[in-house]
């Protein structure tokens, strides 16, 4: 049994489109770089967790092993919506906590190309000549667009509108400010898919996708991989001083799913499982929101980031609108949020994202984030949430020494 688990090595590829590489190329590149960063080799790893969404049936973890070293260790290929990468990290974390391994490698990766709108719902049936009710809702034609939308931009747009309904001082402009901020932040991150600033007016006047989210308020599709090497506290003490100094402690690793909610069956509830995960994470780490020096949260849409300020306790209850208006989540504010550029501009290759968040916080706590460094950062949180549903939170802490 380990007392605690630490991040020893971390790496991510730049997020972009890689038409000339395959998923294994990306995963192998990130994995090898994380091992080098941690000063260890594949022979030191006792477990491999591999998160990938769209090629999840293919045994991607084993395919990557075939390129970086087949040592016979257990491989867990995991798939858990937008928390897929966080689940891969947590799988390795749990294995080390359980004492089954003292070091392990977690990889999150995705190659999406230009997939367009994700999450197409509805009946999913081919056209029929004669209507016949089928499926759990007895539908005769696909319902998407006829009985509302289940596509992501609309679902997350509605989540934001629901928050606006319940709280004062929240509207289109507040949502747009989130995108203005994250695109500005990404201009300092060479690993981001986009590094272009937009003015608030440009964000608000851009092509509408699903009101209140315009195009720059929606995350792009893209390709990339991230990897982290985790180590037990006991094993870490046997490594070099430099390795110990650069290691970052995992203060909390939490995964939740939706509890039953009245509207949950017709509209995803992105709040309750995030609130539950945050509560558990703060308790496990023994800290509160005011102790966080930076947060990487799941801004798949600008509306989502705003509601998560409240869900994660970063603002006063009901005060997410005032929070963004005050500039608090900007990189020079009181609680920097998504200094990487976030999903909106850094990008969101689904299976990669949870691991990329751990990479970002680790890099910041080490003081190695270059132009985007938050000076003196000691504690950070990374949060992801996928519909269907899964929420992962990791709290990371800089080594005391």
């Amino acid at each position: 049994m380990a007392e605690s688990v630490w991040v020893l090595g971390a790496s991510m590829t730049k997020i972009q489109r890689y038409p000339d590489k395959d998923l294994v190329d990306l995963g192998a590149e990130a994995a090898r770089a994380a091992l080098v960063d941690g000063g260890v080799t594949i022979q030191d790893m006792g477990v491999l967790g591999c998160g990938n969404m769209f090629q999840g049936m293919a045994g991607i973890g084993q395919q990557i092993q075939q390129q970086i070293g087949q040592t016979g260790i257990p491989v867990y290929n995991v798939i858990n919506a937008c928390a897929t990468g966080a689940t891969a990290v947590r799988t390795v974390y749990l294995t080390i906590m359980a004492g089954e391994a003292d070091m392990g490698l977690a990889i999150g990766l995705e190659q999406m190309g230009k997939m367009g709108l994700l999450g197409v719902g509805g009946g999913g049936k081919s056209d029929k000549n004669v209507y016949e009710p089928s499926g759990r809702y007895g539908s005769v034609i696909p319902v998407e667009g006829i009985l509302g939308t289940t596509l992501m931009p609309g679902v997350f747009g509605q989540a934001g509108q629901e928050y606006a309904y319940e709280h004062d001082g929240v509207g289109f402009e507040q949502f747009a400010k989130v995108a203005e901020k994250n695109h500005a932040h990404s201009s300092l991150n060479p690993l981001a898919q986009y590094q272009k600033k937009f003015s608030l007016e440009e964000v608000m006047n851009a092509r509408m996708i699903a009101y209140p989210n315009t195009l720059p308020m929606c995350c792009p599709t893209g390709d990339g991989a991230a990897a982290v090497v985790l180590v037990s506290d006991t094993k870490l003490k046997t490594l070099s001083i430099e390795q110990q100094q650069r290691a970052v402690k995992i203060g909390a690793s939490v995964l939740t799913s939706d509890p039953w909610a009245e509207r949950g069956q017709i509209q995803p509830d992105i709040n309750t499982l995030t609130r539950n995960a945050a509560k558990q994470a703060y308790e496990k780490a023994g800290i509160g929101p005011s102790d966080l020096d930076l947060v990487e949260l799941h801004d798949c849409f600008a509306t989502a980031e705003l509601v998560h300020y409240d869900n994660l306790g970063l603002c006063e209850p009901g005060g997410a609108g005032a929070f963004i208006d005050s500039g608090a989540p900007w990189r020079d504010g009181s609680t920097p949020v998504n200094v990487s550029g976030g999903l909106l501009s850094k990008g969101h290759p689904i299976g990669m994202t949870g691991v990329a968040g751990v990479f970002e916080i680790t890099t910041q706590l080490r003081g190695e984030a270059g132009d985007r460094q938050i000076e003196g950062a000691k504690v950070g949180m990374t949060h992801v949430i996928g519909l269907g549903s899964s929420c992962g939170i990791h709290i990371l802490e800089k080594a005391a020494a």
Partner: protein
């Protein structure tokens, strides 16, 4: 008149069109789909409950980018029905501009023809339209 069937089985066309739900006999949770059990309490006993045709808009988004074949823009919403139950549907018969919508606005159920099969049978869908105040 052409033969008509509801596009989903929780829309009832007999008499005044309305929605119906599977109601858990243990805890009262409402569901539109075929159930194996209750997600709230784990019970497995269900009855049918007819729902109100009026309610209020709980949230909305105006969709400008959709899957192929879907006409845009349209307004997707969640409607809280009077007396219990919430449902996802489009808001119809009002121009899809933000200023025309407010959260909490009163709406009522309406139906329309969503498609016709080769036998001439019409699939009837539902949406909500503003109640004149």
């Amino acid at each position: 008149m052409a033969k008509q069937i509801p596009m989903v089985d929780y829309l009832v066309l007999d008499g005044d069109p309305h929605l119906t739900a599977n109601e858990c006999k243990e805890c009262g949770a409402l569901y539109y789909d075929r159930r194996n059990g209750c997600a709230h309490c784990g019970g497995a006993d269900f009855g049918r409950r007819d729902l109100a045709t009026t309610g209020v808009v709980r949230s909305f988004a105006i969709i400008h980018q959709a899957s192929p074949g879907v006409t845009v823009p349209y307004v997707s919403s969640v409607v809280d029905l009077d007396g219990g139950g919430s449902v996802k549907a489009n808001v119809l018969n009002v121009a899809p501009e933000p200023d025309n919508f407010s959260l909490g606005m009163k709406v009522k159920l309406t139906t329309f023809v969503a498609g016709t099969d080769d036998d001439g049978t019409e699939a009837i869908a539902f949406g909500f339209e503003p109640v004149a105040s």
